[in-house]
Subunit: 227 residues, 2 copies
Amino acid sequence: MRPQIVLFGDSITEQSFRSGGWGASLTDTYSRKADVLVRGYGGYNTIWALFLLHHIFPLDSSKPPVATTVFFGANDAALLGRSSESQHVPIEEYKDNLRKIACHLKECNPTMLIALITPPPVDEERNYARTNEATGTYAKGCIEVAKELGLFSVDLWSKMQETEGWQKKYLRDGLHLTPEGNRVVYKEVISVFNETRLSAEEMPLDCPRQSEINPKNPEKAFQQKCL
Amino acid sequence: MRPQIVLFGDSITEQSFRSGGWGASLTDTYSRKADVLVRGYGGYNTIWALFLLHHIFPLDSSKPPVATTVFFGANDAALLGRSSESQHVPIEEYKDNLRKIACHLKECNPTMLIALITPPPVDEERNYARTNEATGTYAKGCIEVAKELGLFSVDLWSKMQETEGWQKKYLRDGLHLTPEGNRVVYKEVISVFNETRLSAEEMPLDCPRQSEINPKNPEKAFQQKCL
């Protein structure tokens, strides 16, 4: 019934409804306007994400999502020869997988708003499977694909590093986000959405506000305002 | 695709995705298992809720929700002669409206898990439109309807008052919930769900865990485990 916004990604998306989470904040912002559905898969890289495309975004859906955030790369960037190497995906393959994801989403709904989000930076003191520099290469690749395909993007890797002490302020364990880190994702994503027709402020409420209901004749407001 | 759990109610439901909110916590618990959809309408009483039934829960839906929380009464209990009297609904009419809501939901899906939640208690020092005693009458009425119709229920009004200092601990403004108050709702609702087939722990994940994926042959896990 309501437009749907899908959050597609790895654990940073899966955990986005914990206290202070960016997914919960988006849901709150789109309250009575759009449904936010979380499709986060802990540990997944873009190779495994491809297997989910037809499952999560069937091409024959009569009501495909109006927007999707695509937030992979933190696992793809795990280094060979270290503890998480089974998640590693070479950079060119990562970029190509992002292209495939975006193409599928466009096929699903040609007007879908697609926002690619780069992986966050890495605090190497607490995460031994990754380097910040290597993850930066994936972030750069993600932004390049967004530009190439005319998609929206959030350069989280760069944005977070603009703030002194980002390592502890934004990262809970060197990779996953603190509530403050979640706040950054929320602000960046909502600022992308606000540039578009999906600006929450401009979307209509699904039913009358309380102030529009005349208690003596409530029918009228519901006849006029129920979308 | 995934089973849907709907949260139907007034502002206490609408605000349930703010930081620490009970709706966000439910979404996190059902991550990769069920979608939680918020249908909260600030200021609404059960009279106005009735206008939304066919809109939110169409009878011809091919995939109706598997569970719905029904959380009204805080506004119905607003007293006549005080500032929020336009929201007032007489107690017997409130009970009858809850019956109508429950019957519609059962018609929508005969196996739907329906949980009625009573309004929270009121801190009269900070909310002048209500008394705690009057709201207690609505809470009692809500529990009676649940028993009468064989529905699940959460007696939030009683539960919260078991804790010393509930007024400030659980209520932000005398009526709406603090993060601690949200925690109580979450714990009570999840404990109801845990008694049923919708226990999150027993519901299957929608796709393989990372640990089930063999990086050298990922197809296999997806063929076996994608629901």
